[in-house]
Subunit: 202 residues, 2 copies
Amino acid sequence: MYTLYDYLPSGNGYKVRLVLKNLMLPYVLHELDITEGASRTLEFLAKNPNGRIPLLEVPGHGFLAESHAIISFLASGSALVPDAPFERARMWQWMCFEQYNLEPNIGTARFWLHSLHRTPEALGTALTEKHAKGHDALKVLEQGLAGRRFLVGERYSLADIALYAYTHVAPQAAMPLDAYPAIRAWIGRIEAEPRWEPITAR
Amino acid sequence: MYTLYDYLPSGNGYKVRLVLKNLMLPYVLHELDITEGASRTLEFLAKNPNGRIPLLEVPGHGFLAESHAIISFLASGSALVPDAPFERARMWQWMCFEQYNLEPNIGTARFWLHSLHRTPEALGTALTEKHAKGHDALKVLEQGLAGRRFLVGERYSLADIALYAYTHVAPQAAMPLDAYPAIRAWIGRIEAEPRWEPITAR
């Protein structure tokens, strides 16, 4: 059985948990409090030298890091990954965009405010910059969703799960989604999917 | 035939050019000077709303962005992508690591110094932070290469191409590689691969 090392408020971890749940794959959850340095202990660094969760232990193979590597491994051959090569590439395009443009801004701002309980006043321009770049990413996402039900091939895929994870909690990063009607409608569709569960559900 | 929109000094673009060359795929190169805003014109934003190169035009399908989405599309089914599911996931783990931990630090520091010709004095702590995080990434890469010829399955794969692109030009970001013997040996092996070419080769 898989073992998942995770921190429940993590959007990156949530992607993995949503995929495991969607595919009804049983797993053992090993919770780590990353705000207390639990992913930087010598014991954990021996499992993942990059010191980050989520981390999946795959029996017979070892440890796999990076949320998108994990979910593509778990969902390979399932309905969550398009069969057509160009659609699969488009799925990866959105997932790469998420890790480069969306997560480092919205995810980091949310981590500062929501997990570490820092104040906007203390964060100052560091937060302002994350908000500006985060809204740039949301504008690209809004445009990508215009006239579509889901990001790729009109079907729920890993791309939706990967971009939903931090987008739906953007308000916890003090980034309201009022200006993004296509994003809000898409969030509603994802939350109506079978086997969806909230971010910190066990 | 493919059309590649690219800026020759770009490490992200270089990944795509190395894969096209390795697989002997013919393409038209459309060069853009991103230091002059050529990827942020209305004409280019209509092709890629995220305003970035490399961008691949795929006849019959449209435009594909994000270097790793592009190279995995081009190399699908080739010897550059491992057949075994866990090895393929490990390849993606390294590629995701590159986009999150390596490229935003080494690539950005190099862009400031080498493409925009800014000085370390003018950049100040912004550069110091990029250097610190960049060296953290290089340490993880050095450890990952210990006792290995290539990153995954002892064979040259997309993971090697993706991580080599910015690592081999780290000295242009004022980050010498002297402290990383495994990385330097691996760079030598990659540059001995058939159909390797230098970053700004046409």
